[in-house]
């Protein structure tokens, strides 16, 4: 990515700014005494189009920072050289909150935020590049929830970032549109990557390693934006995501069983292809419906038009964990295969049969024994049995992948308008 920074007057250590040619305005903020006030002042005083330069060193911060000026770039020296440390954070539910458009954040780290690392709400054209968000004590339920957290936003690019230790998701995009997440690594989080209630997302060339779950794509009810659709998940690696779930219970992520490579829940038009999914002890990929009760009549809980193809699986499902893992394992009679579909269908609730063009396809996936292994947990029969009062009913699964061989039109690439 290009960064044209025209450096005007810089001056010595401390807060210095250039002549007020607005879009060229540069404020350089050094670490050290008074960093909180100097950095927050810079974030307030910077002109639209200006640049805030962060230097080598550790900035000790006591309060969350916020930026509400358009087209601003915050540039550090590198994700291990420029560190915004929130060890002593007294207030603020995130390290840095962005509420303006056209903002770029590059080359610095946020450590130990008490809440979320970077949150961007209702913004357009956001670039997050080469950032590190880390909770340095490792997986801990007291860590903040999200590392990178754009929500209600459009035209979001996240690349080259590293997120470690989030108690919910490392890289989370919620209720947003037009998103590209590429070349990032998420490790030791509960969920590595989470795409929630969002439209048009390309998630590719990322590594999710040692999280509880690698990649989660799901749609939830009762929210201003729902009906998530058009998500492509490709050329990623989901490996050894077997960290015990350290999320606080109550959030949907707390039900993610350790050892989950990829999960697709609700959502329509999702294409999962050319990924490497290895060593996830509960399951390689699971596709299913949202099963909690909801009064939201506009919400559709079943996945639709899901195409899982040309992925490589190895050594998944060998020791299913968590309530979901154990339930599935009970039905499967032991370890789980690479690919699981819960078998829930709208017809079980008195809905319509799903036509072939809206179906869920698993095609041309490779596994340890040639083709990737598969199971349909047949939850539809369980729903019916429960309605008849048989609460102990265990469905009979099917390992026949034949009904799911087929294809859907490839989804189009996401285009971002970052100006």
């Amino acid at each position: 990515m290009c960064r044209h920074v025209r450096l005007l007057v810089i001056g010595a250590v401390g807060l210095a700014w250039a002549s007020p040619a607005l879009a060229d305005m540069l404020i350089s903020v050094a670490p050290g005494e008074g960093a909180q006030d100097r950095l927050q002042e810079a974030l307030i005083e910077i002109a639209p189009g200006g640049t805030i330069e962060l230097l080598d060193g550790i900035y000790e911060l006591t309060d969350g920072l916020s930026l509400d000026v358009d087209e601003v770039r915050i540039l550090g020296k590198g994700k291990y050289r420029t560190v915004l440390s929130f060890n002593g954070q007294l207030a603020g539910s995130e390290g840095l909150l962005v509420t303006s458009d056209g903002v770029s954040l590059f080359d610095f780290a946020i450590e130990n935020a008490k809440g979320d690392g970077v949150k961007a709400k209702d913004v357009n054209a956001l670039r997050l590049g080469n950032l590190r968000v880390e909770w340095t004590n490792g997986p801990d339920e007291k860590n903040g929830a999200y590392g990178l957290y754009p929500v209600g936003s459009t035209n979001v690019l996240i690349e080259g970032c590293l997120v470690i230790g989030a108690s919910d998701a490392g890289i989370y995009v919620g209720q947003s549109e037009h998103i590209v997440i590429r070349n990032n690594m998420a490790r030791d989080n509960v969920a590595g990557f989470e795409i929630e209630n969002s439209y048009f997302a390309d998630v590719y060339n990322n590594v999710a390693i040692n999280n509880t779950g690698g990649f989660l794509v799901f749609d939830l009810p009762d929210l201003p934006k729902q009906g998530g659709h058009h998500v492509r998940l490709f050329e990623n690696v989901a490996i050894n995501n077997n960290t015990p779930n350290f999320a606080p219970a109550g959030n949907i992520v707390a039900s993610v069983p350790q050892g989950l490579g990829v999960m697709i829940m609700a959502n329509r038009d999702v294409e999962v292809f050319n990924n490497i999914i290895i060593g996830n002890q509960t399951v390689g990929i699971s596709v299913g419906s949202y099963v909690e009760e909801t009064t939201d009549e506009s919400y559709y809980p079943h996945p639709k038009r899901i195409h899982v193809h040309d992925n490589s699986f190895s050594n998944n499902g060998y020791q299913p964990m968590g309530a979901l893992g154990q339930q599935a394992s009970l039905i499967a009679g032991g370890p789980l295969p690479d690919m699981v579909w819960d078998g829930l269908l709208p017809v079980a609730y008195g809905g319509e049969q799903v036509p072939r063009e809206d179906w869920i396809f698993f095609s041309n996936n490779k596994g340890d024994n040639g083709a990737a292994s598969f199971i349909d947990l047949n939850f539809a029969t369980m729903v019916v049995a429960h309605m008849m009062g048989d609460v102990d009913f265990v469905p009979t699964p099917s390992r026949d992948i034949q009904p799911h061989i087929g294809s859907l039109p490839a989804l189009p690439a996401v285009h971002l308008d970052l100006k």
């Binding site: 927050q40 969350g64 009762d222 929210l223």
Partner: protein, 325 residues
């Protein structure tokens, strides 16, 4: 009044001419004191509120939303703690309606109370809060101008929060010898369009002014709904807490958390009717952890009395709610 509409705000609060005597908060001519049925909790600070509207201008009444004030309006709010017979003034926040929209400016008082100085980046002040159980030392946070926007925003536009019909509908300080504030504002030409029967919200802390349900909803309206309403910073949660909203799920009943993270406290619902200890709302309002606490900004202490009201309300919700969502 000077400097109200100047581009660069004055460094010193006295430049505005809002007070005859800043240290006693005696207002100048045309600066009208007012208060609210239910105020926002801010670490037990007392708040002295004033409104100034330029001569010949008038605010427009609305039934539900905050009034529309003309350009040049200044809303003033001084945060103070009682100190024997005096006030210990901490900060004065101004909301000024400029031609391009509202701006917020925090002024921090000096120790001898002779002057307040503009601090756009906010600041922290060591304060002793005289609580019922004994004094508590806190690091009182004066917000920076971005943080003002963090609450005073709806649909990308900055706006005041307090001066709404339902919260102004009272006499100043509850005094019998004063007229109703809405009537008074209209009489002095500050407000137009007040109907015969404007809506009213109760005083959260006075059972004679409303039912438990109404008082709890008024408390949530004033402490939460500026973020938890469509178009405002908490709206992606789907939890909407305006006083008049009726949808059970949107107002939190059996509503599951969305992106609460640790804020869920291991609990399943924002409000679990009959069970305050199982309600995320109570958990978050009882927290002082920046990653958990609600409201997110504006307090460091727990409002034990407000939480007690909500606990009582949730306990009794089961009796008035249907037994399933």
């Amino acid at each position: 009044m000077v400097h109200v509409l100047a581009d660069t705000p004055p460094r010193l609060l006295s430049a505005y001419g809002l007070f005859v005597d800043g240290s006693t908060q005696q207002p100048a001519e045309g600066v009208v004191p007012y208060d609210l049925n239910t105020p926002l909790f801010s670490d037990y600070a007392d708040k002295l509120r004033f409104v100034y509207i330029p001569a010949g201008q008038v605010a427009t009444y609305h039934d539900r939303d905050v009034f529309s004030f003309p350009v040049g309006t200044v809303l003033v709010k001084t945060f103070a703690y009682p100190d024997g017979p005096r006030w210990n003034l901490i900060e004065t926040r101004l909301l000024i309606h400029k031609a391009r929209g509202w701006i917020a400016l925090p002024y921090i008082w000096n120790a001898d109370q002779s002057e307040a100085v503009l601090k756009k980046a906010g600041g922290r002040v060591e304060v002793t809060v005289p609580l019922a159980d004994g004094p508590v030392q806190i690091s009182y946070k004066v917000p920076n101008v971005n943080q003002c926007k963090g609450c005073h925003i709806r649909n990308d536009v900055m706006e005041p929060i307090g001066p709404k019909a339902r919260n102004l509908n009272r006499t100043f300080e509850g005094r019998d010898d004063l007229p109703n504030q809405l009537t008074h504002w209209q009489a002095i030409g500050y407000l137009a369009g007040v109907p015969d029967w404007p809506p009213s919200a109760p005083d959260w802390d006075d059972p004679s002014t409303g039912t438990l349900d109404a008082r709890a909803r008024a408390y949530l309206d004033v402490n939460c709904a500026h973020c938890h309403q469509p178009g405002s910073p908490g709206d992606t949660s789907g939890l909407y807490l305006e006083y008049w909203r009726h949808d059970a799920t949107a107002t939190g009943i059996w509503k599951r958390p969305v992106a609460a993270g640790r804020g869920s406290g291991g609990l399943d619902f924002a409000i679990d009717p009959g069970h305050p200890d199982r309600s995320i709302m109570i958990f978050r309002m009882e927290s002082q952890d920046p990653g958990i606490m609600m409201p997110e900004a504006g307090r460091s202490l727990v409002h034990t009395e407000g939480v007690a009201l909500l606990r009582e309300w949730i306990t009794n919700l089961a009796k008035s709610q249907a037994s399933s969502p």
